[in-house]
């Protein structure tokens, strides 16, 4: 196919585009509905979490640290009870922990408005409180 040479070949398309409605979405003035599978911020259900540490083992970004929250007696033994704490600022939302948590405690929400002024605001310690 040999195309004709022309100057300003884009002009026609330009005016056509100008007549159409802009494709710009209304966010941040309107709400944004993201795709069903969108992987946003990680969330934990503290009630379901048993402190099994699998998520800590599988996380590729080292987001999760297990923090001791108390002692528990199983049979005759005293065991340390741990709960995960999440440094969400390095979380890559890959969902590996969600897949591997056998108790369904973890979910990826659709939340993406996460900008913060202090990094510490993104440390999720939700699971640490409930057990006390």
């Amino acid at each position: 196919m040999v195309a004709r040479k022309k100057l300003g070949g884009a002009l026609g398309e330009m005016f056509k585009t100008a007549m159409q409605r802009p494709v710009t979405e209304s966010y941040p003035f309107g709400r944004k509905v993201v795709a069903e599978r969108f992987r946003g911020r990680l969330d934990i259900d503290p009630v379901k979490c048993t402190g099994c540490s699998i998520c800590e083992i599988v996380c590729p970004a080292g987001v999760i640290t297990m923090v001791p929250v108390g002692m528990k007696t199983i049979g005759s033994r005293q065991v340390e009870v741990k709960r995960p704490s999440f440094e969400l600022y390095t979380c890559i939302s890959c969902g590996q922990c969600v897949d591997d948590c056998r108790f369904g405690a973890l979910t990826l929400t659709h939340d993406f408005e996460l900008a913060v002024f202090h990094k510490e605001s993104l440390v999720m310690k939700k699971a640490l409180v409930v057990d006390k």
Binding site: L7, G8, A10, L11, M14, T17, A18, P22, V23, T24
Partner: protein, 322 residues
């Protein structure tokens, strides 16, 4: 000078009016480009984002000014003001309310040529003084580009003067009562618009300020106040060149006389002028939005081998028509 004249010079239809127009032009430019690209463009600053350029200006003006250590602080300080002066002087000669301009001189067309050359000279001086590496490359390109579009620009300005037999803007505008020169000398008009694109550093001739090749061109090292004024000056030049095109080719502020009332008629003339001004401005945005940048050697070639001969031919035709 009478106080009325001073007021005219500073307020309407002088500096203030044209500075407002300059802001408006930038807004329009951004908005139309956005729409043509399928976007919205500025919306939050003022109604429809109309105050966006104003916000940009005041923000820049309030910022710290960094003077690079190798640069010439004197030129950097006073250069932008002089640079601003070039189009600011030029606009005073443009007749807006009817055929009467604020300042008049029988040879003011020649002064326009001086203004155009002066603003390029100031730009290269500023680029040189800031001593940035990119600025220096940009300066080289600016000079090359100027030498190639200077001649056709000059010829295309002289053509209407020849047709009108006058070397004053008022004379040229008045002579277009019966028929606008854009119809008599369409080639000269086209050449003028193309050369204006080069003078304004807009695509396809935005070579001296090609942001993807040499960063900000000769403006790379500017910041704060100086940058604010340099940007404003570029927009003012934009308005100035469009106004010049209106005066030289589109019959200035001329148009049907609607009323005998002096004030009302002045208002009508101003409206005619503005409509034509925006039409020319719009033509320039459309061209610049739809084209890619070409290379400096290609630009020089286009100007020397195509545009200059064309404009010469047009001049010859104009002399014959005369």
């Amino acid at each position: 000078m009478t106080p009325v004249q001073v007021a005219e010079l500073l307020l309407f239809p002088g500096l203030t009016f044209f500075v407002c127009l300059a802001f408006l032009f930038e807004w329009l430019e951004r908005k139309t480009a956005a729409r043509m690209q399928g976007r919205l463009g500025p919306v939050v600053t003022g109604p429809f984002g109309i105050l966006q350029p104003v916000a940009d200006f005041f923000k820049l003006a309030s910022k710290e000014e960094i003077v690079p250590s190798e640069s010439d602080p004197f030129v950097l300080r006073w250069g932008p003001a002089l640079y601003f002066a070039a189009p600011a002087m030029g606009i005073a000669f443009i007749p807006v309310i009817g055929y009467q301009s604020v300042i008049y001189h029988p040879l003011d067309l020649l002064f326009m040529l001086f203004v155009l050359a002066f603003s390029t000279l100031m730009a290269s001086l500023l680029g040189y003084a800031s001593a940035g590496r990119y600025a220096t490359i940009a300066m080289g390109r600016l000079v090359v580009q100027y030498t190639s579009y200077g001649v056709p620009l000059l010829i295309s300005i002289v053509t209407p003067a020849v047709l009108a037999g006058s070397l004053s803007l008022q004379g040229v505008a008045e002579a277009q009562g019966p028929v606008w020169y854009v119809f008599l000398a369409p080639v000269a008009f086209a050449v003028f618009i193309l050369s204006s694109l080069a003078e304004l550093e807009k695509p396809p001739f935005d070579i001296p300020s090609a942001s993807t090749e040499i960063v900000g061109g000769w403006m790379t090292e500017f910041s704060g106040n100086a940058l604010a004024y340099v940007k404003l000056t570029k927009n003012l030049s934009y308005v100035f060149l469009s106004a010049l095109a209106v005066t030289l080719f589109l019959g200035g502020a001329g148009g049907p006389v609607l009323s005998t009332n002096q004030v009302l008629q002045a208002f009508a003339f101003t409206c005619y002028f503005l409509v034509k001004l925006f039409a020319v401005g719009f033509l320039i945005f459309a061209i610049k939005t739809g084209l890619a940048r070409i290379r400096i050697d290609q630009a020089a070639k286009v100007f020397w081998t195509i545009i200059t001969p064309l404009s010469l031919a047009q001049l010859a035709v104009a002399i014959l028509l005369r």
